[in-house]
Every structure is written in C-alpha cells, then in structure tokens.
Symmetry: C2
Subunit: 131 residues, 2 copies
C-alpha cells in the first residue's frame, strides 16, 4: 500500500478527509470540489483517474464510473499546509451531475441575495443517469 | 443583517463552515482554499473584499489585513449543492503566506511519493510579516 503521508497531511482533515479541487487543465476552469481520504489519493495516484471519497455514501467514489465522465489527472498539487489537494485534470464530458461543465454554474447576482445560472448546460442529466 | 441563505447552504458544512476557493480572475490560477461561515460571506458581500473564517483563531479572517495582500472579489459562484463557494478575485501581492502567488506551489513528483516546489516565490515572507 502506497504511503501518501509525504504528499498530504490527512491528520489535518475532519474524519481524515481533505478537500480536493478539480481544475480543468486546458481551460483552467474550476470544475468541482470533493473530498479525499488516503485511500482515494492512493488510488488516484495508482490509476491516474480522479477518485474521491463520498461523504454521503461513505465509500470511494470513482468519478465517472456511472456517467463515463471521468477525470484523467494531469498534475496533482498540494497547498502550503498540505491539507488541500488540487487536481489538474482532463475532464471527459461534464464534471457536474446536473450536466454543466463545472459544478460552479451559478453566479451570485449583483444584489448579493440571489443566484443566476451563468453557464450553458452541456448534457441532459437524463441522458447520462437515466430518467 | 443580510440573509445569505439563498446563496449558500451553511447547514451542509461542518460546524457551519463551507469551503471557499479563491481563483485569480485574470490568470485563472487557483490561489487558495479557506473556510467561510455565514458572517464571513455577509462581510465579503458587503465589502467586496474576501473575508474568511479562521478555524485556528476561531474568528473572521479579513484576508490581507496584516500583509496588505487583499483579494478584491470580482464574482462569487456556488456549486450545484450550494455547499462550496468560488471567489473570483483580483489578488494584491501573493495569496500564500509563504510568499508564493498561489498556496498550491508544490507539485507531486512523477514517483507519486514526494513534492517539488513548482513555482517562483514572489515575495519574502519576512518582508511581509516581519522576521
């Protein structure tokens, strides 16, 4: 089992989980934020595909396993405290389960109190996950 | 007091804190990841300057208050679950307290087991925070 303690300090995370940001390596768009445990990072390193930890399902989440919308990892960076991970990825399809390229498809309005969808939907979620 | 419940769902965060990613609006570089509570988001909206919540100091963290390295917020986005915030900012100076433009200045080596500083240091932290 690969020791990943030199890369990220999982002791700093709540329940051993660290935030992991996925950024498109071509467009530099921030695609999503998810969580990793040690095992997710190890499998990401071993396979070159983004693997997260799903807090709701309490299990590894191999991104794109259902949708096909995988993330091939081009580079992994960590921050100064080694408690946040940045994945620079090639995204197949749409990162967001709602069919948008990025999960950050809504922008706060100038009034500061409401949200507007600021991006175009790429795919219909029904075509990916079923009706 | 501004109600920010339409923007972000703070009930989804641990201890009422949500991850907030700062991205340079000009270069699209991911600069840092920090935490926000409702009050931090309200003050960010009111002032146009990034305000986070420091988990170690247990208080609001007005980014740049000591260093002068403030972040002027150009746009705020939220993700599909409204539990992660993305700030697109104009960064004065260096985002990282270690003097790098981005906190993500280290890259995981091809061996997957060690880190290399991949960026140039912009400023000497001693010049910013004192010796």
């Amino acid at each position: 089992m690969t020791d990943v303690s030199a890369i990220a300090d999982f002791s700093r995370g709540t329940d051993g989980l660290l935030p992991a940001i996925a950024q498109d390596a071509d467009s530099d768009r921030v695609l999503m934020m998810a969580w990793m445990n040690e095992e997710a990072l190890r499998e990401t390193l071993a396979t070159g595909q983004a693997v997260y930890y799903s807090r709701s399902r309490k299990s590894l989440w191999r991104k794109g396993e259902t949708s096909g919308h995988r993330q091939s990892v081009r580079e992994i960076r960590v921050d100064c405290d080694r408690d946040t991970i940045l994945l620079r990825v090639h995204q197949v399809g749409a990162a967001c389960h709602e069919g948008f390229a990025s999960c950050f498809f809504r922008s706060v309005d100038p009034d500061g109190l409401s949200l507007t969808v600021a991006d175009e939907r790429l795919v219909d979620p029904k075509d990916v996950y079923g009706p």
